[in-house]
Amino acid sequence: MKDIFSEIWASLRRNKLRTCLTGFAVSWGIFIVILLLGAGNGLMNSIQESREGVATNVMDVYGNWTSKPYAGMKEGRRILLDNRDVEVTGSDIFAEHIDKVVASVSTRARIAYGKNSINGTLTGNFPDRQEMERLEILHGRFVNDNDIAGKRKVVVLPENVANELLGILKEEEQELAGTAGGRKVAVESIVGKYVKFGDIPFRVVGICKTDYASGYNKCYAPFTAVQAIYVRSNRIDQLSFTFHGLPTEAANEAFEKEYRAVLNSHHNVAPNDSRAIRISNKFTQDMQMSKAQKALHYAFWFVGILTLLGGIVGVGNIMLITVKERTHEFGIRKAIGARPWSITKLILAESVAITAAFGYMGMLLGMIGCQVLDKTVGQAVMTVADQKIAILVNPLVGMGEAIEVTVVLIVAGTLAGLFPAHKAAKVRPIEALRAE
């Protein structure tokens, strides 16, 4: 082993400039690979983070428009869900897969407290909704069964709405106004107070964490109260249920078809009309998202490998020149007893050594590059419609990827050296007798 290294070192030392130039191409390739992988990871982490806190075994069902004429009625008829759909969904027909069923209704409202007011959405919900949306309660409580039974006018506000109503400025705004720490009002002081939705006062019973992804200033009140006050019929806006035992996309599809058929018949819609009811399946969405993530990961690898290919061709080229230059030397070696394999080994080892050494340099630089990315773009936050989205979250490469890159480097080095090494092994020992 030591002998091979000293041979490689002797060979490389004689061709410093050439080796460095070729090595740079390899370093650059690996640098790009690492940077791409890091950025890709950051992007995926960001997507992952925005989806976190949502239960994945949930389907949301909405009324839509029919797409097929049926029973004497034209297509394009509006379908509205109602309490009967909730009953059907929760009945024995679907007991095999469906666990909890909750309905919700919602209405846009101007929310007012004292002299502060803000636009928002008042939704009527059941207690199980909290778990389905993985809603985090910061102060007080969520809607409970007594609220439902008593149609109580109580509400859970998201933190940002509570802050707005209390006139609490955000930190950055406080800094701008220069009043940091001036007037301190605790957000929980609103719990127990009455807040007006339109003209109707609701008592605040809790404050939940703001979830920008779930909707615009969404406040949670008991389903029964909101339906009675604002809808005044048994119509519902949305139906959600948790389910189990549908592991594949095909199983989900089959279940959705069956489910549609049942609901369609309740609304006098063709059983095979797939438009009358809209189903948003979080589980299959999650599956598709994971697939997209994987595809993205492979795409980054692909681009990176193509970049690396340039470097590899360079190394192969240099090795060919080296073999050409050393033909006489290989002839001598063979004349005094070198087997073809020992010559092959020499060239392959040299090729792998160049690729690995410069590749590792590139990898190191790439990792530093990722750190820089993390400190700059990684800290940037896009604000879209009051929603904060981090573009890149931890754009770094892990140990697994480092090992993958190492394997790629060794394979690449071997490939680059294969043809030159084969050529070197074929040098005839008679070459040794040829005078220089």
Partner: protein, 240 residues
């Protein structure tokens, strides 16, 4: 017999077929000091390639120490070359980026001898040839004679059955040539090394004990030269 060639034929088929060796019969015994002499184009280089297992022959048989050298794979040929034959070349053929001692070690490296052991042995051989002080010098820091002595040390280190010298004095001046030839004859005389020298110089051939003349691919006269009277320039002189 150490070396036996029986009706060895060799034809090169580069375009026009060229029959270079036309049935060579040659026997060389252990401890002989032989020169093969011939003009360029006589087939002596081809004969040397075959003797050194650097090239194949078409028909006939070639035995070294009773072992038939025929139809070998490249690896087998490499092993035989490594263990049976020591080469001395006209242009020394030392590896330029290796020191003298590293060059001498090389054949042992291909035998898989340990680093320490082969270094020790290489130093012994360099010492024997009076090159201890030059052990860690590179070939381009040495004179022609020194380089050829390093090459001789490299040829001897595997303790080969035959020392095969191809124009060993071709790149040396007459004084150094004489020294090298004296060294070879001393090795033959005192250590009983079998030496075959291929040359076109009669002075060099005259230093050997037996001269094999080759002409047009056929062995001509085999001259007994124990009296060293072959050269017209007298005993122990090499005229350049």
């Amino acid at each position: 017999m150490l070396i036996e060639l029986k009706d060895v034929n060799k034809t090169y088929n580069n375009g026009q077929p060229l029959h270079v060796l036309k049935g060579i019969d040659l026997s060389i015994d252990r401890g002989e000091f032989v020169s093969i002499m011939g003009a360029s184009g006589s087939g002596k280089s081809t004969l040397l390639n075959i003797l050194g297992i650097l090239d194949n022959y078409d028909t006939g048989d070639y035995y070294i120490d009773g072992k038939l050298i025929k139809g070998l794979t490249e690896s087998q040929a490499a092993d035989y070359r490594n263990r049976m034959i020591g080469f001395i070349f006209q242009s020394f053929n030392l590896i330029g980026f290796k020191t003298a001692v590293e060059n001498v070690e090389l054949p042992l490296f291909y035998q898989g001898v340990s680093r320490h052991k082969r270094h020790e042995l290489a130093m012994q051989y360099l010492d024997k040839l009076g090159l201890t002080a030059w052990a860690h010098h590179y070939p381009n820091e040495m004179s022609g004679g020194q380089k050829q002595r390093v090459a001789i040390a490299r040829a001897l280190i595997t303790n080969p059955k035959i020392l095969l010298a191809d124009e060993p004095t071709g790149a040396l001046d007459s004084k150094t040539s004489e020294e090298v030839m004296q060294l070879l004859s001393k090795l033959n005389r005192e250590e009983g090394v079998t030496i075959i020298v291929v040359t076109h110089e009669s002075g060099v051939a005259n230093c050997t004990e037996k001269i094999v003349h080759i002409k047009d691919g056929i062995i001509g006269e085999i001259e007994d030269n124990r009296q060293h009277r072959s050269s017209m320039f007298g005993v122990n002189t090499i005229m350049k």
